[in-house]
Amino acid sequence: MGLFKKVFGRFAKDSAATPHQARGLLIYHNVHEVIYAESALKKSGYDSIKVVAPPAQYRTGCDLSIEFSLIEQIGILRILETINLAPMDIVYVDDELMHPTEICQVKDFGDYRMVRAANMKITFDKKSKIIVNISGGGCSDVPYLASQMIGKSVFDAPSPREKGFTLCAYTLAIAFEEAQKQAHLP
């Protein structure tokens, strides 16, 4: 509740927006915690949350934070505290923040299909659905994730959301989830 008072107090003082419009950011130490927090909140029905770039003072170069409506703050914090994922900070925002890309492109290679999201690419065998390659990225968990996913079906492979730690892993997860959809197509 301490965090709530801090942020709500700032909101009440500084903002002309209504609580329904006002937005806050959950700030974490690393992307891994954000991925877990986002997943937990969406499972709890908070579908309006979005992952965004944190404000400049929190950036290290590989960062993610969660944007939420301040009106939902009490419920959100209750869930996060229950699973020991309380944020390191909460800040009020009024600027437009950058969102990770969710655009995927699909390229056909005959027996194989490749899905690209930003800098990450995942390729699977169209018949067996086996992941045959993962390409792109620059953060250190990409080779690790590739070693865990290649050789497994797109339906059985571990999700980068569960195993990854970085923004490259987050982007790979977007490509992976599109690959799962694509695997249902002929």
Partner: protein, 291 residues
Amino acid sequence: MKLLLAGTIPRDTIDLITGEARIAGGRLYIGDCEVSLMRGTAAMVGAACAVAAFWGDPCPQTVIGGDIGTQTGSRNIYRYLIKNLPAQDVAVLGLHYIIPDIALHNQVCAAVQKMKRRPVLIADAGFMYVAKASGRAPFYDLFLPDLGELAFLADDRAMHPAYTRGFLTTLEEAPEQLLKRAFSTGNAARSVCVKGDIDRVCVGGHIIETIAHPIIEALEPIGGTGDTITGMAAALAAHGCTIVAACRIACTVNRIAGQMAKATPATQISELISHIPAALEEVLKGTAAAP
């Protein structure tokens, strides 16, 4: 000339290893430690070893951190470079897979400035991301992005490729515009080698070389094909090639190696690396497939 390569490998049992890299029996060794020859830093180092061995050059020196994403190995590399670079004599420094950390990156740049001889600075993967995010891109001599990463360099607000806005859907159509944008906003190294269906070597925003043959479409999905270009370019620069020549040869050798390996989208990068010596010989003889 001394080549130093730094980056992470996905082993959480390794804190930091340093030493000479070599390939023996198709396996990659850092000192006495065997490392899986897979995508990422290992592919870069393996390709550099293949080129160095071809010329009879000294084996590349390496700084390798074990990191599966928890940042431990990445921080060990940053700290090692910050502490040790000022006293080192390195001709070419290649920086690769790492978790971006702007503050530590800037300390590495400061350490480079303390070196008696400024090395040719090559950044790819995470180190290229953090170089751009920190606003220090022009400090570097060479970046090696693929098309998706070029869009990131061209987006002056993006701190990481994941945040790249717009123009991702028209990548193949507009690389020249993206290059100009990256250079004009100070978000590119002095030279940039854009890896794609057509490889483009650029200096100061101008495309100097294009490499389009042989066409091996299957290279795009194979993880590590960009890493091998980076490793070869670094080794060629250490051998004495200009950056433009190093990139041109590396891109062509990569394609020939793919051709020799009869690459499919399921081919793994270790297969391509095994063909680098023969592919390099073919390219240097001038017998590689011409357009």
